[in-house]
């Protein structure tokens, strides 16, 4: 079964003469137990596809199934709950809350899911240890390096054990070594048979961590490349 499956997805922005077709009958799959890259030039529709898959944007036509749920059939509230429980996000700019320290930032998805703050922070602290930030738990984002911030963001994306992790240019602001470390953690997360990771990237250095690479251009998936040996690499 696929974690993500889109068939003939269309997405428009604007209306009338200024209408832009960002996704043109896009067919895309991301499988459980795999890390799937989506690559392509700027403006090819990668981020739009990511937003639609994550339920942040509505699609206009086509079908979208995520974790066996028909996203088009879900109400806004159901989609919100689905996202809160099942999807983890990793952003290019980390998007940490600057007023919260590392542990509190990581605990946010758990708190949003109704876990008491104390229990949420205990779980967040444990995860921060696994990403090598045991000594920086109380640090504010402004006190962390870019790599450390992205590791906090990664811990936040994984803390509620989501079945699908969606990443937007997670290594763009990181040096090669730190980027590799982040990708290794993501690839490890994707090893589980009930999980999947989708990563949009321009960074060709990290493609070695992927199981599949979907090339995108002009709103369509133009090519799929299978990389069966990736699990061993990571």
């Amino acid at each position: 079964m696929n974690a993500v499956e889109t068939r003939g997805i269309k997405k428009y922005f604007g209306s009338g003469e200024t209408r832009v077709e960002a996704l043109r009958e896009t067919d895309f799959e991301a499988r459980f137990g795999e890390l799937t890259f989506v690559v392509g030039p700027s403006g090819s529709g990668k981020t739009t596809l990511l937003s639609v898959v994550a339920g942040l944007l509505d699609h206009d036509e086509g079908s979208l199934h995520v974790l066996d749920s028909d996203m088009g059939a879900l109400s806004n509230a159901e989609r919100l709950r689905f996202r809160r429980q099942n999807i983890g996000f990793l952003f290019q700019q980390y998007n940490l809350l600057p007023a919260l320290n590392a542990v509190e930032n990581v605990a946010v998805p758990l708190i949003a899911n109704g876990i008491p703050r104390k229990a949420a922070e205990e779980r967040a602290a444990a995860l921060l240890e696994t990403v090598g930030l045991a000594s920086r738990m109380m640090a504010l984002p402004s006190e962390l390096s870019g790599g450390q911030q992205q590791r906090v963001a990664l811990a936040r994306a994984l803390v509620h054990d989501p079945k699908l992790v969606i990443c937007d240019e997670p290594t763009a602001a990181l040096d090669h070594k730190t980027g590799d470390a982040v990708m290794a953690l993501l690839a490890q997360h994707a090893l589980s048979p009930d999980r999947a990771v989708v990563v949009v990237t321009h960074d060709t250095r990290v493609l070695e961590f992927g199981d599949r690479i979907a090339y995108m251009d002009d709103g369509r998936i133009t090519q799929i490349e299978e990389r069966p040996a990736v699990a061993e690499v990571s």
């Binding site: 509230a77 919100l80 809160r84 998007n95 509190e104 946010v108 949003a112």
Partner: protein
């Protein structure tokens, strides 16, 4: 999510303090201007409130407020005494003789002439001397503010002489009479002497003070006096409010204060609203991240309301504290004595701040609800 909302609010200290103090100054201005307004209006009836023994004031029908009197005939006192239900009635004179000190300082005064026999209407709060000393010939009691006006910088002591329309009189006491609207020295003397100090006029009886018999209310007695004599009779409270209404209707005081209060409200709303709105705009990416993570709109609305209410409550508390400090300081100054902070002022300011907070919240909530969670993917 409450702690996250509060952390977001207080993370940038300078913005948070800017927001809180915008609300605090708005609160202070609203309470301050309305307090000064209330204090000034209260002064218009202070000489009425100072008379505690009698509860009904009888006057010529053309008399509209305390300062402006049309004299009654001496026989009107007897007519009032003859009304059923009047326990007793005494005369009261109000004039404005010119006082002159030994050093040559002049000042117009408010002279209150009280009944010679009973001294009803004498100031009961004496700072120096005894009000009973008014029984001495050619004696007056002056209020502290008046004394300091006549003898600036000199120690307060009874026994000094002043000239009132060529009459040499002795200050036998210094009272703590409530401030008058015009801030003139307030002098009390016996009726028979006060009319002499004022200078002879054909009719000099300003008011008749009456007290109802047991079982009759001041309102009932007022009606009876009006029906029986054709004079105007008002209870102490009614007459005090007559004075306030007269000044409200016939002076620019309410308009001027109204403008100031309106400006305070507009400036407070704009500054606090804009500061809070900008705070939300600065945090849009954070709200977008929370939206993407799956935080519901109603939770985000709750967070924004909590932030606005927190800033509003703290700003209101600080502003009220500033106003209380202001009142406490200026209450004891001669020129501003009688300044009061009415609970109504606090309540009105609170309502205005709630309004400001709701406007600011509404603007911010609109922006956050319209925010597309997908914006978090934009770098």
């Amino acid at each position: 999510m409450r702690f996250i909302a509060l952390r977001m609010l207080t993370a940038d200290r300078s913005k948070y303090l800017g927001l809180v103090f915008a609300i605090a100054f708005c609160t202070f201005l609203l309470q301050n201007q309305s307090s000064i307004f209330a204090g000034i209006l209260r002064r218009t009836g202070n000489q009425i409130s100072d008379v505690t023994e009698a509860s009904v004031w009888v006057m010529d029908p053309k008399t509209e407020y305390f300062e402006q009197t049309k004299a009654l005939k001496d026989t009107d006192l007897l007519r009032v005494r003859g009304v059923a239900g009047v326990a007793w009635a005494v005369r009261l004179f109000k004039g404005n003789p010119i006082a002159k000190t030994e050093s040559g300082k002049y000042a117009a005064t408010t002279m209150i002439g009280i009944d010679d026999d009973t001294l009803v209407g004498a100031p009961r709060k004496m700072l120096l001397g005894r009000w009973e000393d008014l029984q001495k010939p050619d004696s007056v009691i002056v209020d502290r503010a008046g004394y300091q006006l006549l003898y600036p910088g000199e120690p307060e002591r009874p026994g000094r002489t002043i000239e009132l329309n060529d009459h040499r009189v002795t200050i036998v006491g210094i009272s703590d009479a409530a401030a008058s609207f015009l801030s003139l020295p307030i002098m009390h003397a016996r009726y028979s002497e006060a009319v002499q100090f004022q200078g002879q006029e054909r009719k000099q009886l300003s008011y008749v003070l009456a007290q109802p018999s047991a079982g009759i209310t001041p309102e009932q007695l007022s009606s009876r006096i009006e029906n029986a004599t054709g004079l105007r009779a008002r209870t102490t409270d009614q007459f005090r409010w007559d004075c306030i209404r007269y000044y409200l209707k016939n002076t620019g005081i309410p308009v001027n204060f109204g403008i100031t209060i309106f400006i305070a409200l507009v400036v407070g709303t704009v500054v606090a609203g804009q500061t809070f709105y900008l705070f939300t705009i600065d945090n849009l990416r954070q709200f977008g991240t929370l939206k993407a993570i799956g935080v519901a709109d109603r939770t985000l609305v709750g967070m924004i309301l909590l932030q606005a209410l927190n800033a509003g409550a703290i700003g209101f508390a600080i502003g009220t504290g500033m106003e209380v400090t202001f009142v406490e300081i200026f209450l004891h100054k001669i020129a501003t004595r009688g300044l009061i902070l009415l609970w109504q002022s606090v309540a009105i300011a609170a309502a205005c701040i709630v309004f400001v907070v709701l406007i600011a919240s509404w603007l911010s909530i609109r922006r956050v609800l319209k925010l597309e969670a997908a914006t978090v993917f934009r770098s």
